[in-house]
């Protein structure tokens, strides 16, 4: 007991020593993120190297997985302990909520110095700003509404990548008849929700998506359009092989690669799997947007800067923000990650065709007002509301629930979650 007490005391002494402000303010930042392995880890490492090169001390705090993102628990634990990490990988409305809780630092200084307003699309600015001030730094843009198709397999039934949902269904039926799995899918709630939102965007259209999934308009949620969305989901269920539940998305991608399945609906991180297997876009696989009226479902990762004490830590945050949004890092990182830069002025030469298509589509979608946040990936919605959407989408997809029932449950669940 005595030695334990001693340990407590000395531990307190040690932390006190750490907390005391050091004399010089070498930039230092603890970064809490869930990019812990593979290409993602390489991408983060690029950032760390850049940070160190500028004299910063990077304290790595990776926490992946572990039950629906252990990181979420860690972050709350750290904030409640009064010791938040300097930079945390969070995104979408969660940024707003943390800002509302007064936990985030203001980055206006760096932002105006680096002219963020000039280089970021407005949709992204809205995500990372709270009450007009920047509180987070966007890293990248992933597009969610992609179809990844195996052209050889499609050719077997004389089809190309579908451009309307009717065409999608017709092609899928043909594939089924030919004994080919039309849609490679992993039955995890977020994957179910990913398909769901692309169908909402495709069947309902951009305005319906905005009303139902962004503005949570009850009329839209309970409308007949939503019923037909679920009807289409029921059809999609028929296009999936029986072994889909629990399958990781990358295994589904592998099915497309191997020609066991024709298509997969997945965000553009799927490209990493193809690349790792040495496949070439346009030849071995095709990337096409899911059928919609020029819609673009965006998923953007970002780092929020938490309120920390100490000159060194604040300096670290500012340096980190500057680096993350710097052209150089935006290029290296997104090449590793398979996504596209959040800022629009990064040279395109190194990027592949899919990425360039994504960039073009984003620009035109932003101009046409069809650039939307993904619900499944926590951009349009977060927390309870997103959870409610996912619950209903996955419950419907995995059971024989009728579309009418699904719509009723959806309205009820969203009301409950608000």
């Amino acid at each position: 007991m005595k030695s334990f007490a001693k340990a407590l005391v000395s531990a307190a002494a040690i932390t006190a020593a750490f907390n005391a402000a050091p004399l010089q303010a070498d930039p230092k930042a603890e970064v809490l993120h869930y990019w812990t392995s593979g290409g993602e880890a390489k991408a983060v490492k690029a950032l760390q190297e850049a940070f160190s090169a500028r004299g910063g001390e990077w304290v790595d705090a990776p926490v992946a997985g572990g039950g629906g993102d252990a990181q979420a628990a860690v972050l709350r634990a750290r904030v409640l302990a009064g010791d938040p990490p300097a930079a945390v990988q969070i995104k979408g409305p969660n940024i707003q909520e943390w800002a509302e809780a007064g936990a985030l630092a203001d980055l206006s200084g760096v932002a105006s110095a680096q002219n963020w307003d000039g280089v970021l699309p407005e949709t992204i600015q809205n995500i990372v700003k709270y009450e007009g001030n920047y509180v987070a730094v966007p890293v990248n843009v992933h597009r969610v509404d992609w179809i990844w198709a195996n052209p050889e397999v499609l050719a077997k039934v004389g089809a190309g990548v579908p451009t309307t949902w009717d065409e999608f269904n017709a092609t899928a039926d043909k594939l089924l008849a030919a004994g080919i799995i039309p849609l490679a899918h992993g039955g995890q709630p977020w994957q179910d929700a990913t398909v769901f939102e692309t169908v909402v965007l495709g069947i309902g259209g951009v305005d319906f998506y905005r009303k139902a999934l962004v503005d949570l308009d009850m009329d839209a949620l309970g409308s007949d359009t939503m019923v037909s969305v679920f009807d289409q989901m029921r059809k999609m269920r028929g296009y999936v092989d029986p072994d889909f539940p629990g399958r990781d998305w990358n295994l589904a991608t592998a099915m497309v690669m191997r020609g066991e399945a024709a298509m997969q609906i997945m965000g553009d991180w799927a490209k990493g799997e193809f690349a790792a297997a040495g496949k070439v876009p346009g030849k071995d696989y095709i990337c096409a947007s899911t059928p919609s009226e020029n819609g673009y479902l965006l998923n953007s990762d970002s780092f929020a800067m938490f309120n920390v004490k100490g000159d060194d830590l604040v300096a670290g945050q500012n340096l980190l923000a500057e680096l993350i949004l710097g052209t150089e890092f935006q290029e290296t990182f997104n090449l590793f990650k398979g996504s596209i830069p959040a800022r629009t002025d990064v040279p395109r030469t190194e990027f592949d065709d899919c990425a360039i298509k994504s960039m073009d589509d984003m620009v035109s979608a932003a101009e046409g007002g069809t650039l939307l946040g993904s619900m499944a990936h926590e951009i349009a919605q977060a927390g309870a509301v997103r959870g409610a959407f996912i619950d209903i989408a996955t419950a419907h997809f995995n059971s024989d629930m009728s579309s009418q029932d699904a719509v009723e449950k959806l309205v009820k669940a969203i009301k409950l979650a608000q």
Binding site: M1, F4, A7, L8, A11, A12, I14, T15, A16, E30, L32, H33, Y34, W35, T36, S37, G38, G39, E40, A41, K42, V44, K45, Q48, W58, V59, D60, A61, P62, V63, A64, G65, G66, G67, A70, A73, V74, R76, A77, R78, L80, A81, G82, D83, P85, H142, D248, N250, A254, G267, W269, G272, E273, A276, K337, G338
Partner: protein, 295 residues
């Protein structure tokens, strides 16, 4: 006479059949218990192409320890590419003191509760025992606040404290139930001989405790070593225990999975507890026999 001569072989035959049935059941269960281990070990020894192409249950073509080496000393976890090795030692520095402390406190508490029955001792015990049943998810937030207040958040001391507290319920249960079976007269005799509370504990009770110490240590070591939630919530970066590092290595949201490395990492993570069970398993059973389970 004729009766018994026909009877005996018949009985022998039925004994033989019973024996055969017995062994069949035992072996079927053994297969069931070994199947996951076989899959995990087998996969860890294959290369990725073999995993993608072949059946899970197929034997590896050749023994390939690359994945093991990779997981132990090369794999990147976050931005550091050190493999699991440093995290392994983190777990050791966390588990050893936590196991020791919780076992010692449990032994002392169990001893005081059984051999020095004071008023309310049973109530105290019941209240402590209920601590076994609190799901850890529930305590993360208040614990975080508390650790923050004490100022040991993000340190190995914090984790030691957490594991000691939540292990205490179990160790107290084990020791209390074991000490109930030790005759009170020993303590009385020693009291008259002039030994005090701690002397009796050290000289009489503790030397009788190895069976239950083994049970308690195995149990606590397994629990603490395998913990993920507390490790993830109350440490970061280089201080993380191996389970968190293993999880970081295995989990990728949008990256490519290396199943062989994942499995090797899982096995490396599980190795110390497996080792403890295999080596000390029979002492474990013996310790349970010695009275730990006699409510």
């Amino acid at each position: 006479m004729s009766n018994s001569t026909t009877f005996v072989p018949a009985q022998n035959r039925s004994v033989l059949w019973m024996r055969l049935l017995l062994w069949t059941i035992l072996l079927l269960f053994a297969i069931w218990f070994l199947l996951p281990a076989y899959v995990v070990v087998g996969t860890s020894l294959k290369d990725l192409a073999e995993i993608r192409g072949g059946s899970l249950l197929a034997l590896p073509h050749e023994l390939n320890f690359t994945a093991w080496r990779h997981a132990w000393s090369e794999a990147c976890i976050g931005v550091t590419c050190t493999g699991l090795e440093p995290y392994f030692w983190n777990s050791v520095t966390m588990a050893l003191p936590a196991v020791t402390l919780s076992t010692l406190l449990g032994a002392l508490t169990g001893y005081a509760l059984t051999k020095w029955q004071f008023k309310g001792a049973n109530l105290v015990f019941a209240l402590i025992l209920f601590g076994c049943f609190v799901p850890f998810q529930v305590v993360i937030l208040p614990m975080a606040q508390t650790l923050g207040l004490i100022g040991i958040t993000n340190t190995v001391y914090g984790l030691i404290l957490v594991h000691t507290v939540y292990g205490l319920a179990f160790t107290t249960l084990f020791f209390r139930n074991y000490y109930v079976t030790i005759p009170d007269e020993l303590v009385r005799a020693a009291t008259i001989d002039g030994a005090g509370f701690f002397t009796i504990f050290r000289r009489i009770i503790l030397p009788l405790s190895p069976p239950i110490i083994v049970v308690s240590v195995i149990w606590q070591f397994t629990q603490i070593w395998n913990d993920f939630l507390f490790g993830a919530s109350f440490t970061t970066g280089g201080a993380q225990p191996i389970t968190v590092a293993m999880n970081n290595l295995v989990n990728t949201t949008t990256g490519v999975k290396q199943y062989n490395v994942d499995m090797a990492a899982a096995l490396i993570t599980a190795a110390p507890t497996l080792f403890v069970y295999i080596v000390a398993g029979r002492y474990f059973v013996r310790g349970l026999t010695a009275g730990s389970v006699k409510g």
